[in-house]
Amino acid sequence: MLQPTAIILQAAFLLVLFLFVAWVARSTLRDLKRPDEQRSAGPPPADATGIHSAVTAGAAPSGPHDPRLVVERAPGHTPGMEYEVGNGAILGRGEQAEIRLDDPYASSRHARLSMQGGRIVLEDLGSTNGTFLNEEIVSGPQPLHQGDHVRIGDSEFHYVDN
């Protein structure tokens, strides 16, 4: 025999459970819609080192001189190896990539370097695991600066242009 109060308590029990699920699921869905929310919450502070503001990016009066990508550590590459990137290059695991990454976390066409407006610009080509510029995930074209650190999976490079 079920008591009416017991039924109400049981309904309350289920209601609390469903509300809890809805609450967690809501924030989870929000995370999924903006996957990099937690990585780039708000603009970087003005004095942040290693992150270059987009405004000063095009300000360099003369273009880069002899831009190169230097291997720091990458599977299948000798550290210190340099790639000329003045004419642009695709980084990836696939056959058509100019800079082949033997890295399981790299996509076949992972990222692109190209000359745009007198600067070398790094773009992620919709890779699965993302491209990191100075340990910030790259979303949209990012101009490179002397000494910038580029990471794809476990492959790490830095950029030099003089």
Binding site: L2, Q3, T5, A6, I7, L9, Q10, A12, F13, L14, V16, L17, F18, L19, F20, V21, W23, V24, A25, S27, T28, D31, Q38, R39, A41, P75, D102, D103, P104, Y105, T128, E135, D154
Partner: protein, 431 residues
């Protein structure tokens, strides 16, 4: 709202569940509603607050939803176990406290979990030893044909619950080193690693098969091996590994199902639970058939708390109701609705776990979070799949819900490790 305040808010539903759940059970059993259920809710809230404070101080950036999810699961478990047996519920509450202590100890002592990598072979050896302990005569105990528990004085203890954590740590560390090598060689257009790289992995497969024969437990074996394949897939991004792995596992399981008597019995009980001969037979299909009856009886809305028929006199209607069949009891009393919401909560747990793996920056953390989450997910699959007749029934616990000390303590350690990984990942991501 900050992550930690969100976590604090999330603990409220769990204590409300305790109050409402215990209230409903008291009403059913004693036909009166005391304020004891409020006291229980307050004690539970206090324990969760202690865990919350430790996280607030030591892991300020950790995932805010994991602890509330665990608290909700544990509160469902406590209510249902209390409804089954008051003494067991008291035990379970004590184990919950021990679990929280283990949780706190893991967080406080293991500030940088990456030191675990240094001891990986020691951890692997200790885990193997733990797995084989139940076969040692004198302390090993056999239950329903499977060797899972050991008895040390008054306490029985299931070493496999702890061994699974150790093996996941070992595999995460091993795969971090070798994942590049595993995909480096291609033959005939497919990835074909050298024997010396794939060897240890074949060893793990052999181990899973060995467990099937020696410990006679398909569930744990599936859990370990599935967790291993998930990690292998994440480490190499090659679908061929899990495909071949499941093929090998299927082959092995099929072979043993036809040759080892104990496994064969389980399989025929699973295929024909309503066969009168198997139903009557000791260790036959009685348990799985009764579980299916109980769930069907629950319907969509359930029979109500305290309504499930657990036993008549001394003969059990639902054998092992507090461990293996707890999901069947929940579906009987709370209905399909209750079963669905419980599974949804596990889905959320697994989602949080994989999210931690996605956010983690270094390979070891990524693999460790993947492995730990997959093992919990597979454990839920093995037991819920077992009681709903999707796969042969094997006795593993429903994480955080079933009665069982080793299980709850081990799962709290898993949760602590996930929070440690999450704290580091989210702190680095914020920078």
């Amino acid at each position: 709202m900050s992550a930690r305040n969100r976590e604090l808010l999330g603990l409220l539903p769990a204590s409300l569940l305790i109050v409402a759940g215990f209230g409903a059970v008291f009403l059913q059993e004693q036909a009166k509603l005391g304020n004891l259920s409020l006291t229980y809710g307050a004690i539970f809230l206090g324990l969760c607050l202690a865990a919350h404070l430790i996280i607030r101080v030591r892991l300020p950036d950790a995932d805010p939803y994991l602890l509330p999810i665990i608290a909700v699961l544990a509160s469902i478990g406590l209510v249902v176990i209390y409804r089954l047996n008051e003494t067991l519920a008291r035990d379970q509450a004590q184990w919950f406290v021990v679990g929280l202590i283990a949780f706190a100890a893991t967080i406080l002592l293991l500030r940088d979990y990456r030191v675990l990598e240094r001891y990986r072979y020691l951890i692997a050896a200790a885990s193997l030893f733990l797995l084989l302990l139940p076969r040692i005569p004198g302390i090993g105990q056999q239950a329903n044909g499977a060797y899972l528990g050991i008895g040390l004085g008054p306490v029985t203890f299931q070493p496999a619950e702890f061994a699974k954590i150790g093996i996941i740590i070992f595999l995460a560390s091993y795969l971090r080193d070798t994942r590049a090598l595993l995909v480096s060689r291609k033959r005939f257009g497919i990835t074909l690693p050298r024997l010396k790289h794939i060897g240890p992995l074949l060893l793990v497969w052999g181990l899973a098969m060995l467990m099937l024969v020696f410990i006679r437990d398909l569930g744990s074996s599936l859990m370990f091996f599935g967790g291993f394949l998930a990690m292998l897939y994440v480490a190499t991004d090659r679908l061929i590994f899990p495909v071949v792995g499941f093929g090998l596992f299927g082959l092995g399981a099929w072979f043993f199902a036809n040759t080892v008597g104990h496994v064969a019995d389980r399989v025929s009980a699973w295929q024909h639970p309503f066969d009168p001969k198997l139903y009557e037979q000791i260790g036959g299909s009685y348990q799985i058939a009764q579980s299916l009856f109980a769930q069907a009886d629950g319907g969509v809305w359930g029979q109500g708390f305290g309504q499930a028929l657990i036993s008549v006199g001394d003969s059990p209607i639902l054998p092992a109701a507090q461990t293996d069949l707890i999901y069947a009891v929940i579906v009987n009393e709370l209905g399909l609705i209750g079963g669905i919401v419980l599974l949804l909560i596990y889905v959320l747990f697994v989602e949080r776990g994989f999210r931690i793996a996605v956010l983690a920056r270094d390979s070891f953390s990524k693999l460790l979070a993947t492995g730990l989450t997959t093992v919990v997910a597979l454990q839920v699959f093995v037991i819920v799949g077992g009681v709903t007749k999707v796969i042969p029934l094997t006795g593993v616990t429903l994480p955080f819900v079933s009665y069982g000390g080793s299980s709850i303590v081990a799962n709290f350690v898993i949760a602590a490790l996930l929070l440690l990984i999450s704290d580091r990942a989210r702190r680095e991501a914020r920078r």
